[in-house]
């Protein structure tokens, strides 16, 4: 891990000093022992701030999109002949590269606008699972040693198995190594457990309708409409989200049951064929809403019906962007 971090800093510093990138997006050290902070650096000297450890959580592809689009916005006031591109470097694990592939497939930016520093990934620690494993005791210091997380709490030191506190998404991750990259640091990480990927969906599908609905309504009742899930999602890049549109108004602003459910249902459906299961939405949710079960169902359908896994390769077009003569159409006749 330290070795990867060292190489990462070197590569990042090199990209910045050789002016191959204008900015570089990575993770920096946080103020809490179990959290890293998304960081944007512009000077080679700042590369020392970068960290790489299992507390690096949110998918950074979101920031790639943000930075490029903010730059384009600022270029609107510049004469067309004087406009520049902003080249963005990014530290990317498997899921981050999948999100970048989706951006590229959806023509959000060009491949030459992003320089990818690939990092091998063996999963990140879910802070909720960590707090749960400590039975609500606050982690005051955390260090990952091999497959153990050593934690100091007010009541003394504890060791927690890393696999017990990994995010659910990481545990069954199919692409934990970068799919596309310009520079790779470290050796590829060993595979996770993708065979179990759809277990939660299979179990959920086997429940009767009313139980599934009851679970959905229970989970959604926790939502406080803070939009952390939407805002961290690299695939949620609409300039104006439907919840914020007022002409027509799609959904009410309150936390009435129907308003919350409509927001979540529509956001989830907007992820059909576009969710890479990075787990960021689940990780950032302050209320612990189980969004993954529903997103994973769409992912499973995408694979079973169209043989498609979101962002798995630049050459596999998303099912909703492509039409093929072999597309199933029986649903048209049998709703």
């Amino acid at each position: 891990m330290e070795n990867i971090e060292k190489q990462l800093r070197e590569e990042a510093g090199k990209l910045l000093s050789e002016k191959k990138v204008d900015v570089l997006i990575g993770y920096g050290k946080g103020t809490l022992p179990y959290q890293a902070v998304p960081t944007i650096i512009t000077e080679p000297g700042e590369a020392e701030q970068l960290v790489w450890n299992p507390f690096c959580t949110v998918n950074l592809a979101k920031y790639v999109h943000d930075v490029i689009f903010q730059h384009r916005e600022s270029q609107k006031r510049v004469k067309p002949e004087d406009r520049t591109k902003k080249i963005v470097g990014v530290v990317a694990r498997g899921c981050t590269t999948r999100s970048i592939i989706i951006h590229l497939q959806e023509r959000q930016y060009e491949r030459d606008e992003v320089v990818i520093i690939g990092v091998p990934c063996s999963g990140y620690v879910s802070k909720k699972k960590l707090w749960d494993a400590l039975e609500g005791r606050e982690p005051l210091e955390c260090a990952v040693e091999g497959d153990t997380v050593k934690v100091k709490t007010q009541e003394g030191s504890r060791s927690v198995a890393l696999k017990d506190v990994l995010s659910d998404s990481c545990f069954t991750c199919r692409y934990n190594n970068p799919i596309i990259f310009d520079v790779m640091v470290g050796d590829p990480a060993p595979p996770m457990n993708p065979e179990a990927e759809y277990e939660i969906v299979d179990a959920f599908e086997s429940l009767p309708d009313d139980e599934r609905w009851a679970y959905f309504t229970k989970e959604m009742s926790k939502c406080i409409r803070c939009y952390a899930c939407r805002n961290t999602c690299p695939s949620c890049y609409c300039k104006i989200c439907f919840v914020e549109q007022s002409g027509p108004k799609w959904v009410g602003v309150t936390i009435d049951e129907s308003d919350t459910q409509v927001f979540q249902i529509m956001r989830i459906f907007h992820q059909a064929g576009r969710c890479v299961d990075c787990g960021s939405c689940v990780e950032v949710c302050p209320m612990g809403v189980d969004l993954r079960r529903f997103l994973k169902k769409l992912d499973k359908d995408g694979y079973n019906l169209f043989g498609h896994r979101a962002g798995e390769s630049l050459d596999s077009p998303p099912p909703l962007s492509e039409r093929s003569m072999n597309d199933k159409e029986d649903f048209i006749f049998e709703p």
Partner: protein, 341 residues
């Protein structure tokens, strides 16, 4: 004011008893979260907890409420009054930081010039019972840096202190005294218990280690609206509403009219300065066009504008925004960084 002792095993029953004829809002376990909720018959209040996920402000200032209804008529509209839902209530189990938040919210909502009847009516009918932090629960607590104390009684009507096998119940206001009398025949606390409580308070304050220069940065904030420092604090911010929605003192709201066919309602709902829509104008112009300006607003509102308007920092140091920020943007660190400039 009266000071009584309540045996540990009796208190849950007393709280449930209160809930029989009064509205009681108390911390309850809801899956992984401890939340303030209306205490229903089959619900168990939690008395030993670090702090709740949500702040108790929701009780006086709900996330969404209907202010009035209207019916579309051939010409104009018929307005229908919606009475303010407020009845005798007890807000039980508030941590001292959160209890202080009501003192700050009163400045805003109970201002003689702009009195908010929704907040004020509920507030007037509610008795607040606080549970002191004998052991301040989190390393992210910083109440002592913003004028609070882990065992402060400010904002509470009745204060409870965990003395081991009993609760020391200290009435702070007449409302609190009345509630204490309603709790049944309780033994009075002796001198020794009060002395011991005072010793515990000293120890508790020492545990809160955080040193956040919340008030000393004010002169810098007064002078440096355009400082380069603001260019970096928002990096990584998701622009979500977690910090503002979980904050006990954030109080910005929006008013929206919603129509369904011929019927409509005017709703008030929480808003967040972190949202791009917050000051978006109809013209398309936004005086706070990027997250930088929005973050500066949140910080300035707490540590400068509120101080200018009401003479107090609009933060009680509960640390929720620090603990639950999805990307670990830490308001304590921003204040500390400013103090070093």
């Amino acid at each position: 004011m009266e000071t009584k002792l309540i045996k540990k095993e009796l208190l849950p029953g007393i709280v449930r008893g209160l809930a029989e004829d009064t509205l009681v809002y108390a911390p309850v376990q809801e899956e992984d979260n401890i939340m303030f909720r209306v205490l229903e018959k089959d619900m168990e209040p939690i008395l030993e907890f670090a702090n709740t996920k949500n702040a108790p402000k929701n009780f006086f200032f709900p996330q969404a409420e209907t202010m009035m209804r209207f019916l579309k008529k051939e010409r104009g509209a018929e307005l229908l009054e919606v009475p303010i839902a407020a009845r005798e209530a007890v807000l039980f189990g508030v941590r001292p930081c959160d209890a202080r938040s009501f003192v700050l919210l009163d400045y805003v909502f109970d201002d003689p010039k702009y009195r908010d009847p929704y907040y004020v009516e509920r507030r007037a009918k509610t008795t607040i019972v606080s549970i002191a932090c004998v052991r301040p629960p989190y390393s992210t607590c910083f109440c002592t840096s913003v004028g609070g104390h882990p065992m402060s009684k400010e904002g509470a009507d009745l204060s409870l202190v965990d003395m081991g096998d009993t609760w020391l119940a200290e009435a702070v206001t007449e409302k609190g005294e009345k509630l204490l009398q309603n709790m049944g025949d309780l033994p009075g606390a002796d001198e020794a218990a009060v002395t011991r409580k005072n010793e515990m308070a000293e120890k508790a304050a020492e545990v809160v280690k955080a040193d956040v220069p919340a008030s000393t940065i004010k002169p810098w904030l007064d002078e440096n609206f355009d400082h380069d420092f603001w260019n970096k604090i928002h990096i990584g911010c998701l622009a979500c509403g977690t910090c503002t929605y979980l904050c006990p003192t954030c109080h910005c709201f929006d008013i929206t009219d919603e129509m369904k066919k011929e019927e409509g309602r005017r709703a008030r709902s929480w808003d967040s300065c972190m949202y791009w829509l917050f000051t978006q104008e109809t013209s398309g112009h936004n005086p706070r066009p990027t997250q930088k300006e929005r973050w500066r607003q949140r910080f300035m509102h707490k540590f400068k504008y509120f101080v200018d308007n009401f003479g107090a920092v609009a933060c009680v140091g509960c640390g929720r925004c620090v603990r639950y920020c999805p990307v670990n943007i830490d308001i304590r660190k921003i204040a500390q960084d400013i103090s070093k400039l």
